[in-house]
Subunit: 191 residues, 2 copies
Amino acid sequence: MQLLKDKIKNEGVITEDNILMVDGFLNHKIDTNFINQLADEFIAQFDTTNINKILTIETSGIVIAYAVASKLGVPFVFAKKSLNVNITNDLYSTKIVSHTHFREFDVLVSKKCIDPCDNVLIIDDFLANGSALQGLLNICKQAKCNVNGIGIVIEKTFLAGSELIREQGYDVKSLVKIEEINYAKNLIKFA
Amino acid sequence: MQLLKDKIKNEGVITEDNILMVDGFLNHKIDTNFINQLADEFIAQFDTTNINKILTIETSGIVIAYAVASKLGVPFVFAKKSLNVNITNDLYSTKIVSHTHFREFDVLVSKKCIDPCDNVLIIDDFLANGSALQGLLNICKQAKCNVNGIGIVIEKTFLAGSELIREQGYDVKSLVKIEEINYAKNLIKFA
């Protein structure tokens, strides 16, 4: 998606540890007109006929998930991350390791929020090591719902996540793929 | 707003410690069609002519803030909460105490995201003790921006927050006001 590549080139910031920051339009200050265009692109790329629910994980997935769900007129669910929680019978739960925080989190979804008959489209902002996404997929397995597809705004193909998830047979579509981020070279190389 | 009262009566859950849970439509699973109606109501209640930015705080404020910002075609900013962070020169920061988590958080907004010329509408899901909202107002004072109004989905008038904020002269509008929540009586009393 050229529009997104241009936005990343113009407004993305590379930190010294080679992390791409998109705080100016996606993760802190949100350019709503732009996000709505990303949502349109997801809807164009997937067959959304049967999708009845969008699933994402807090925090930054909420924005793009809401935009897609709102345009489709369906509800969305954001999985909650927690450091210390009593797992109870009314929750689906799994553990993930955050790539950016180097910590283990519990990921939680109320059993009231996903049903076995649901046709879910998973939406998230980044796919890096795939831990958060694998967590959402584990939740979907527990709930026995259908995962119709996975839509990612920015995929980092130089990390293991995307291959791991695609090997499991899931339909992963990313609006842009990045194969190298390099602070020293001031380089964002798109795949 | 009768629609919201009905939704709370039909789908809200009171916990044993008298907390109103709205996980079924506002805070975990999100009824996007309903949220869009709440956004329309905020836009009807405020003079939005000059509003050029929406401000909220993660996590659950993001949904309703996005809906309002998207309809107005303006960007929104969500303040980030953090337990341990190095406060740097490029951040506005303040401390808040979470009413539900009994913990102190740093609230952070990048200086790049708010400008002195901004006319801000603050939007949040709940107003209880007002700590989160006071944090956002402190950030706005640091940024020297205009706070044109404060829109709250659910105000708990039996807690100190709403009076504290209104005493400072801010225009606070809430879609519903609740004056009592009582688990034992299974009561949600609207003001």
